[in-house]
């Protein structure tokens, strides 16, 4: 039972995404309370005090990001919910959009109030159809009920929301990149500084938060920062939505209290490795997070006290991260060379082409791994992959090229002999098996 709940604290029914159901479980009460009794800065302070960290990948403190904006500086500000969920293995924000879109909308209203935002956006990935339909219907319900528009609930606060559907570009999940998309240009990531809270959308101070991060705001305002801090660990308060897939008996989206035992989550809550096979490796938070091997995971099964727990600081000390919450379980007998081929093909395909090291480097790495899988690998290829990964690291505007390199080096570090075997014997040690 994965611990206490913040988002999945209701039963999913065929109507749980509707406004009536959301109101019946206390929805929009936080908004009414805030508009009557709280000042914008007090809302931000509550988020700072809650210790909420971003749920999109970087785990940056959400309140500290918000403090980058002065709600009273008289210029336009923007808030964007990042629903461009494209990190392979990640499908958790979809759960919020499909089952409780009003949680996101109420949270965005609270956030807009805190940040002095008149116009906000949800940037939803282009392929999401049902999540978009549910969100769009919820937006119309919220407008009809007077939660959006002019003088919301009779207050001085006015706010409009535009649902922006992407058109197929992984890089738009990178916060600065989706600004370009909303501005009607190619979605190229932007250099920082200036931070987006200084110069973001239309050159105005802008906050971009992940859907799950924002969706947590309503709970925090309703229950208070100290109640939130009681959930999770001291350094990682709250919960995470974990989407788990791959070789696992019960894939899906789970809400896990931070600090929860990883072994228990994998082997009990998710039913263990598919078909009872031994665990080979876990990609903990989307393929752009570092791969952890079954060896590390076994360390955690050995004893829950000393074992790994699901929280930001523990995974960071293990050299990886909870990242986007997209966990992929890999069973023994899987060909890691083929798996890396899929990852490198992906990064090459999704490189936006703006920075030379990423545009060229992801292509080179993709061609090298294709060559190895075709049986034409050369002994120097593995060093070349490491070399390309090394010069990619930190030389590009966004992290896409870095992530491609990390995927390559993590796989080579942990499964080197599989790669050597493939090059020497011109075939996979595991017959190319992925399933």
């Amino acid at each position: 039972m994965t611990g206490r709940k913040v988002l999945m604290d209701f039963e999913v029914t065929p109507t749980s995404h509707s406004l009536d159901d959301y109101r019946a479980r206390g929805g929009y009460e936080a908004l009414e309370k805030v508009l009557r009794t709280m000042k914008p800065r007090e809302v931000t302070q509550e988020i700072v005090d809650s210790g909420l960290q971003g749920r999109g990948g970087a785990a940056f403190p959400a309140g500290r990001k918000w403090q980058g904006i002065d709600p009273d500086d008289g210029q336009p500000h923007y808030l964007i919910a990042n629903a461009d969920e494209g990190e392979p293995g990640t499908f958790k924000d979809r759960w919020v959009l499909e089952y409780t879109p009003h949680t996101l909308l109420e949270s965005m209203l609270l956030s807009c109030y805190a940040l002095g935002v008149r116009h906000c956006f949800v940037y939803i990935r282009g392929e999401y159809d049902l999540p978009w339909r549910r969100l769009d219907a919820a937006v119309e319900e919220a407008y009809a009920a007077g939660y959006f528009g002019e003088n919301i609930l009779g207050s001085d606060f006015s706010c409009d929301l535009f649902v922006f559907r992407g058109a197929g570009a992984y890089v738009c999940g990178e916060a600065s990149s989706l600004l370009g998309s909303i501005e009607g240009t190619r979605a190229f990531p932007r250099n920082r500084p200036p931070r987006m809270t200084v110069r973001g959308l239309h050159q105005a101070p802008t906050v971009v938060n992940n859907v799950e991060t924002l969706a947590t705001i309503a709970w925090i305002i309703r229950n208070g920062a100290s109640a939130f801090r009681e959930v999770g660990t001291e350094k990682s308060p709250g919960t995470r939505l974990i989407s788990i897939s791959g070789h696992i008996a019960r894939p899906g989206v789970y809400e896990v209290e931070l600090g929860y035992s990883w072994a228990r989550f994998l082997h009990e809550d998710c039913g263990g490795v598919l078909g009872g096979r031994p665990l080979k490796a876990v990609i903990p938070g989307g393929i752009s997070s570092q791969v952890l091997t079954g060896k590390d995971a076994k360390v955690l099964t050995a004893g829950e006290v000393e074992g790994l727990t699901l929280d930001h600081e523990k995974l960071r000390s293990a050299g990886s991260s909870l990242g986007s919450g997209g966990m992929i379980v890999i069973a023994e007998g899987t060909c890691m060379v083929r798996l890396l081929q899929i990852m490198l093909r992906f990064y090459h395909h999704e490189s936006c082409g703006q920075c030379t090291p990423c545009r060229e480097g992801t292509g080179w790495m993709h061609r090298i791994i294709d060559r190895i899988v075709a049986g034409d690998g050369r002994p120097e290829d593995l060093e070349r992959l490491n070399y390309i990964a090394g010069f990619n690291d930190g030389t590009t505007i966004c992290g896409l090229g870095d992530a491609a390199g990390y995927a390559a080096t993590a796989m080579l570090d942990n499964f080197r002999e599989e790669f050597d075997y493939f090059i020497e014997h011109k075939r996979s040690k595991f017959a190319g098996n992925l399933e």
Partner: protein, 154 residues
């Protein structure tokens, strides 16, 4: 695209004033939904309507994977081939479709019924493998499910 302008005007009401270029991608998506692809005349229309240079529209068209300049088949089968789907049988589905339809990914059947594409992660990893047919996701697909699905698409 001119008949869609009243719809575009309604979209503007929730945007900050003075930033109409935001509508570029939404307009392109809507035009494609209407016509099936983006025609040269649509680009001309958007240059005039949004007041932005033609090159800006061309750049967006070549950037976003879902936008296309040419018509495709009635049913667009997009098979995810990323990590989680591959671990649950996506490669077998792709082979099945190539065999059954007689086309490679990126091609359309001669009768114009199907276009086959492979795509990267669709965010359906927990219900892998997934095939997107036009807008709808078909999840947890077995070989038999895929055969039955193709029968339903005429």
């Amino acid at each position: 695209m001119k008949h869609l302008i009243p719809e575009f005007e309604r979209l503007k009401t929730r945007l900050p004033p003075g930033h109409d270029a935001t509508l570029l991608v939404p307009c392109l998506r809507r035009i494609q939904e209407d016509r099936g692809f983006i025609d040269n005349s649509d680009i001309d229309g958007l240059v005039e309507y949004l007041g932005i240079p033609r090159i800006q529209i061309e750049e967006a068209l070549s950037f976003y994977g879902m936008l296309r300049r040419k018509p495709i088949g009635r049913w667009h089968l997009q098979v995810c081939r990323n990590v989680s789907c591959s671990m649950r049988g996506a490669e077998r589905l792709i082979d099945q479709l190539i065999g059954k339809l007689g086309v490679q990914p990126g091609e359309t059947t001669p009768d114009g019924r199907f276009t086959l594409s492979t795509v990267e992660c669709l965010g359906s990893c927990g219900t892998a493998p997934v095939v997107m047919v036009n807008e709808a996701y078909h999840e947890n697909l077995s070989a038999a499910d895929l055969d039955a699905l193709l029968e339903r698409l005429d």
